[in-house]
């Protein structure tokens, strides 16, 4: 099995605070990996280090064997796409335009082509549009493609963000809390969506607090606590581990046990 992402000893310090401490993570082709941990454990910072939004203080990240660049657009170009915990769409663009922006790295038309509008330009635009429509249908937003992103209901905005990320043709997709704020129906739909993405042989790393979602979906789960990786393993092992329970709920004091 090919390793898609390899993060080794990634560390991020903000002044005196070490947000991420020497974290290793490997993701294989077509795998869904969960990243859990209590609030403030450094999960999102770790994501930011992977995607070039933050420069790690130490450590190395490689994607399919080559080191990932330290700039978000280059990371996306290399094949790692992401979504954000607090949805970050382009609110005053339509759903279709949002996804079309995702095609930016995979298209080439420059200023002269845009002004000159030769046959090549038209072909590329048509291809981008077809691909974007296909992706909107894929995530179930085909009918609202001409709606403004900000006018979409919350669940649809999450889906649209995923469609936009998919439009960059990623080999690895990082989802930051994809079901945050969703009702059970929407969460169930997201499970299906993640499975469908996995079937397109795109590896996924997701941060999540919904444990049923994580344990039902992931092939492997890593637990971050206070910036350090506490453990990593199949969902059943993580679920059964005392240390994980302790990290979330705290250790029983002596009075409790007595």
């Amino acid at each position: 099995m090919t390793i898609v992402l390899q993060a080794s000893a990634v560390t991020k310090r903000f002044g005196g605070l070490t947000a991420v401490k020497s974290v290793d993570l490997e993701v294989n082709e077509g795998e869904v990996v969960g990243l859990i941990g209590p609030n403030g454990a450094g999960k999102t910072t770790f994501f930011n280090c992977l995607t070039g939004l933050e420069t790690p203080t130490a450590g190395e990240v490689t994607y399919r064997g080559t080191p990932l660049p330290r700039r978000p657009d280059l990371v996306t170009k290399a094949g790692v796409a992401r979504t954000f915990q607090n949805i970050r769409l382009f609110p005053n663009m339509t759903a279709l335009e949002n996804v079309l922006v995702g095609r930016h790295t995979r298209t080439r038309a420059g200023v002269l082509a845009a002004v000159g509008r030769g046959p090549r330009y038209h072909r590329e635009e048509r291809e981008s549009e077809d691909r974007s429509r296909e992706l909107l249908d894929f995530v179930g937003l085909g009918k609202v493609r001409n709606e403004l992103a900000k006018a979409l209901p919350y669940g649809d905005q999450r889906k649209l963000e995923i469609a936009r990320a998919l439009a960059t043709d990623p080999g690895l997709l990082l989802l930051d809390e994809p079901t945050a704020g969703m009702n059970p129906n929407e969460t169930a739909a997201t499970v299906k969506l993640v499975r469908a993405i996995q079937e397109r042989s795109i590896a996924i790393v997701l941060i999540e607090h919904d444990m049923r979602f994580v344990f039902g979906l992931c092939d492997r789960v890593a637990v971050l606590v206070q910036g350090e990786k506490l453990m990593e393993g199949p969902p059943s092992a993580v679920q059964a581990d005392e240390r994980v329970v302790a990290a979330y709920l705290g250790t029983p004091t002596e009075e409790d046990t007595a």
Partner: protein, 581 residues
């Protein structure tokens, strides 16, 4: 405030039952008044003495005709009537005051004006006391049928012709100059502040505003907009034709062509600035400097006798090189500064604009190399001569019409504006344009979606500068001189004001904004000293009443009106914080 509101409610309740009758009576009376003399002396522009309505009386008459809405209840009638009657009243009142002022006293105001003002007041009160509209006017379309496409195309052409007509009429109103106006004055005292021409232009402007508002509230403008959108090619062709034909309507007069050419220069620069500000969302306060780079370069290499370099490059090459050099300056300034956001970028660009002006002011051989002749500038730029021997400096006769030489420069401007507009429209609807808008909406998300934000911002900056450079080089040939005072901060501010007034992100908006901002001080001479004050007030009003500009892009309109208050949308640009949470 509450007292006023209470008084209004009480007054409204008193009048409301008779609102229709009152308003109808007012409008009918107003129509009649427009055929009565408004002044006792001849000479006030618009033939205020005889019984054929002209000038302000005609505008009031046309606005009074909206009174038919008191009889026929169409959707949106209260608001439409409100606009028409209010503007009719304001025009009538202003005209009466102007007549009194120019005639040295109320005694010289005709009966028609007095009764007209009262009638307009009744009209307005009647309109404002109508019940609120229960429905807004729908966007109507023509019935399907064989002739639909043809009729719609004709409507597009008519729209272009109407725009041209409005422009021709507005330009045709003479502006006061020192030699004017001795013929009709009573008592013979000459005042330079006579204001009669100004009153003409002002009432025309108010009339246009009132007419457009009333029509838009009846849904006419939106319906027409939908039609022109379906037939955009017809509209563009008709607009271009109208622009090309314009010199033939001027009867050999060069003055308005000169003004129109200057508007063209201003509009081309405004469209270029619109790429930077409207699409990419970068506030550039020193934009005129790029225009200046183009103008100075063109001035120096075009064979002017005052130029220190004795070369005369062909015009095509001059435009190209000016654009490239200005673009290069754009890159030089942009590369280090585009990492700054918002206000900081604005300050740096503001500084660059000043540096440019002061530099060209000093390159006179005493404080630096002799290149720009300092404050005198590079003047006496020779007229353009095309390779075929066609000289731009001579009058020509085309289709039996004598055309002043200014027409040549005017047509050159039409070509420039058309090129700049095409470039803008095509860029806006492309991969690059989408990336710019994405950066404006949320820079961090744009970067994470694979957009090289630094490079694209630089591209917007450089392209804006390139277009400015091209416009500048043409402008140097039109005005025949490049001098430092043409490139002050005021000019940058005016360009920005044109973009904001017209509507960010649209070419029609930039064109309209440039036209209005150029014509206002030209036609309203008393504004000249108060120009900045008045523009400031106009901009504040626009921001308050119509933050998306006169001709907004669809996106802007949605931005400001679906999210609720315009002020909120302005105050809160899409978040910069929070990604790292």
């Amino acid at each position: 405030m509450s007292v006023v509101a209470a008084a209004r409610t009480r007054g409204g309740a008193l009048v409301a039952p008779f609102a229709r009758q009152l308003g109808l009576a007012g409008s009918v009376l107003l129509v009649i008044c427009c055929f009565l003399p408004w002044s006792t002396y001849s000479g006030f522009p618009g033939k205020m003495l005889n019984s054929t309505p002209g000038g302000a009386r005609l505008y009031v008459l046309l606005l009074a005709l909206f009174g038919f809405l008191f009889v026929k209840d169409l959707p949106g009638r209260r608001r439409a009537l409100g606009s028409a009657s209010t503007f009719a009243f304001v025009i009538a009142l202003l005209t009466m005051l102007f007549i009194a002022y120019a005639g040295r006293g109320l005694v010289n105001v005709g009966s028609g004006a007095f009764v007209g003002v009262v009638a307009a007041l009744l009209y307005m009160v009647g309109a404002r006391s109508l019940p609120e509209d229960d429905r807004t006017a729908p966007v109507r379309s023509l019935p399907d049928g064989r002739w639909r496409a043809a009729v719609e195309s004709v409507l597009c052409v008519l729209a272009a012709v109407a725009a041209l007509a409005a422009f021709v009429i507005g330009l045709g109103i003479p502006s006061t100059s020192i030699a004017d106006g001795e013929d009709y004055r009573l008592g013979g005292a000459i005042s330079l502040n006579d204001l009669t021409n100004e009153s003409q232009f002002l009432s025309f402007l108010l009339f246009l505003c009132g007419l457009m508002l009333a029509l838009s509230r009846m849904g006419v403008i939106a319906s027409l907009g939908a039609i022109t959108k379906r037939h955009s090619k017809v509209l563009v062709a008709a607009g271009l034709m109208a622009a090309v034909v314009f010199p033939f309507t001027q009867g050999g007069d060069g003055y308005s062509l000169r003004i129109a050419a200057s508007i063209g220069v201003f509009a081309a620069a405004a469209v270029g600035l619109n790429i930077v500000v409207g699409l990419a969302g970068l506030l550039d306060l020193g934009y005129i400097a790029f225009f200046g780079v183009g103008a100075y370069f063109a001035a120096i290499v075009s064979g002017s006798i005052t130029s220190v370099i004795d070369v005369h490059l062909p015009f095509g090459l001059v435009i190209l090189l000016s654009a490239l050099i200005a673009g290069l300056f754009g890159v030089l300034l942009g590369a280090p500064t585009l990492r700054l956001r918002g206000d900081y970028l604005a300050i740096v660009t503001l500084g660059f604009g000043e540096i440019f002006r002061i530099t060209v002011n000093n390159l006179d051989g005493s404080a630096g190399p002799k290149l720009t002749n300092g404050p005198n500038g590079v003047s006496n730029i020779p007229d353009l001569v095309l390779p075929g021997g066609f000289s731009f400096g001579e009058n020509h006769n085309l289709f039996g019409v004598d055309l002043p030489f200014q027409a040549n420069y005017y047509w050159l401007e039409v070509i420039l504006v058309a090129v700049v507009m095409t470039a803008f429209l095509r860029l806006a609807e492309s991969r690059i344009g989408r990336a710019w808008v994405a950066i404006r909406e949320d820079e961090l998300a744009a970067a994470a979606t694979g957009i090289n934000t630094t490079r694209l911002k630089l591209l917007a900056f450089a392209l804006g500068a390139t277009l400015a450079g091209a416009a500048g080089s043409v402008s140097a040939h039109v005005v025949k001189v490049a001098a430092p005072d043409s490139f002050t901060f005021l000019e940058s501010a005016l360009l920005l004001a044109a973009v904001i007034l017209g509507g960010m992100g649209t070419v029609q908006g930039a064109l309209l904004g440039a036209t209005v901002l150029y014509l206002l001080p030209e036609k309203l001479r008393f504004l000249q000293d108060l120009r900045l004050l008045v523009f400031g007030i106009v901009l504040v009003l626009i921001m308050r009443l119509r933050p998306e500009g006169l001709v907004p892009s669809k996106r802007r309109q949605r931005e400001f009106h679906e999210a609720g208050g315009g002020a909120d949308a302005l105050a809160a640009p899409p978040g910069h914080a929070g990604a790292l949470g």
